[in-house]
């Protein structure tokens, strides 16, 4: 019997049994880089090598910036792909991806259509019920007339009256059920409001992440010039200004097209 204290035989588990390759939040290569720098930093501090220690700290910061950019980029790309798959776009798009059948917009449209069809049918049923009700009223009048005009048919007339009462009760019950079916359709309004809020929220998060990725990229570019090892020429300046404009653009226009976001993420290496 397996117990919690029994050793696990990790080595016997194949990669398939473990599922897909694990995704690291920070790349192992970068982690090992930080570890090396820290070893070096400790060595410098022990040897009272202050310039060496400062250089190590600078290198750690550089790796940290690089990791942050990679993580934000990966999250942005993952969210963007999920948005494309789920069709959570809150705006009209020319992109065919938004027509995916798995989309949230599709769920709203389908439930709306289903609710409308149900309401069409229930309204039709209500009209028929009202007509049947009117017919029954006429039938009751006829029975009452027969009771006064026809003699010797008491049993048959009583039976007709009993049937009419049963029909009236049945119609009232069906009418009640139809009303309940009508009211049950209000789920569509509530679910579509919730989905619309989710779609808007995800869209906003995506826009913010795209901006953050661009901003991080810009900071990374600027940091190349801060230590004086690189010289900013006209081409570099133009590239920086272009990236700055890209950061400002999503704030000016409400939403980027799916293709625009795809292109932008690709240009940033994600």
């Amino acid at each position: 019997m397996n117990t919690l204290t029994e050793p696990r035989h990790r080595e016997s588990l194949s990669a398939d049994a473990c599922g897909p390759e694990p995704k690291y939040f920070i790349e192992p290569r970068e982690l090992s880089g930080i570890k090396q720098c820290m070893d070096k930093l400790l060595h410098c501090l022990q040897g009272e090598d202050l310039p060496g220690a400062l250089s190590c700290i600078k290198e750690i910061n550089h790796i940290n910036d690089q990791s942050m950019f990679t993580i934000i980029g990966k999250i942005t790309r993952g969210l963007h792909d999920a948005i494309a798959d789920l069709n959570v776009s809150t705006h009209d798009s020319r992109n065919d991806k938004n027509k995916t059948r798995a989309g949230l917009g599709y769920v709203i449209a389908m439930t709306e259509n289903a609710a409308k069809t149900t309401l069409d049918m229930t309204e039709h049923a209500q009209e028929q019920l009202h007509q049947l009700d009117a017919n029954l009223a006429q039938q009751n009048t006829l029975i009452a007339r027969l009771q006064t005009e026809v003699s010797g048919q008491t049993a048959a007339l009583s039976e007709l009256q009993r049937l009419a009462s049963a029909h009236r009760a049945g119609l009232a019950s069906i009418g009640h059920d139809v009303t309940e079916i009508v009211i049950a359709q209000n789920f569509q309004d509530l679910t579509s409001q919730s989905l619309t809020k989710i779609m808007r929220l995800i869209g906003d998060v995506e826009t913010s992440l795209v901006s953050l990725t661009q901003y991080t990229k810009l900071l990374k570019q600027l940091s190349q010039y801060s230590d004086g090892t690189e010289i900013l020429d006209a081409t570099d300046g133009a590239a920086l200004l272009s990236n700055l404009e890209k950061i400002e653009r999503p704030a000016e226009s409400e939403h980027m097209d799916q293709n625009d976001v795809d292109n932008l993420l690709s240009s940033l290496g994600f």
Binding site: L119, E123, Q126, V182, Q185, N186, Q188, D189, S192
Partner: protein, 126 residues
């Protein structure tokens, strides 16, 4: 005094299915003089020219939402006393207080049933 079954009612909601549901409920309750509007901007001119006795409105609508419509009704002497029932998914306390301050007669949180609407109408017109 109970509600007059012949009173003229305006139902305002941007969702077609909700408008139809509310109309159906009102019909079942015996109110057959019911008109429909899909938001506040459509409803307001109807109210100004239509002699309505009662308004049932959603809160979250495009163009002019329910609270704005309520404020516009209360601000106009010609229709300012028309009873207004807000039927909405907004159930936050501050929203309900905001609606009360704006002069709403009663408030129904979705999802609702026919009994709730019946009780609210009875209370408003009692």
């Amino acid at each position: 005094m109970p509600a007059n079954p012949n009173m003229k009612i305006l139902v305002v909601d941007d969702h077609e299915s909700m408008r139809r549901i509310e109309k159906q409920i009102l019909n079942d309750l015996g109110f057959c003089n019911v008109d429909l509007a899909d938001d506040g901007t459509t409803a307001l001119p109807m109210l100004l020219s239509g002699n309505y006795d009662f308004v049932i409105s959603d809160w979250n609508m495009p163009n002019m939402e329910g609270l704005e419509l309520l404020k516009a009704i209360r601000a106009d002497a010609r229709i300012g006393k028309t009873p207004v029932l807000l039927v909405t998914a907004e159930s936050k306390k501050e929203k309900i207080i905001e609606a009360a301050k704006a002069g709403v007669n009663d408030y129904v949180v979705k999802p609702f049933n026919a009994e709730i609407i019946k009780a609210k109408i009875a209370r408003i017109f009692s």
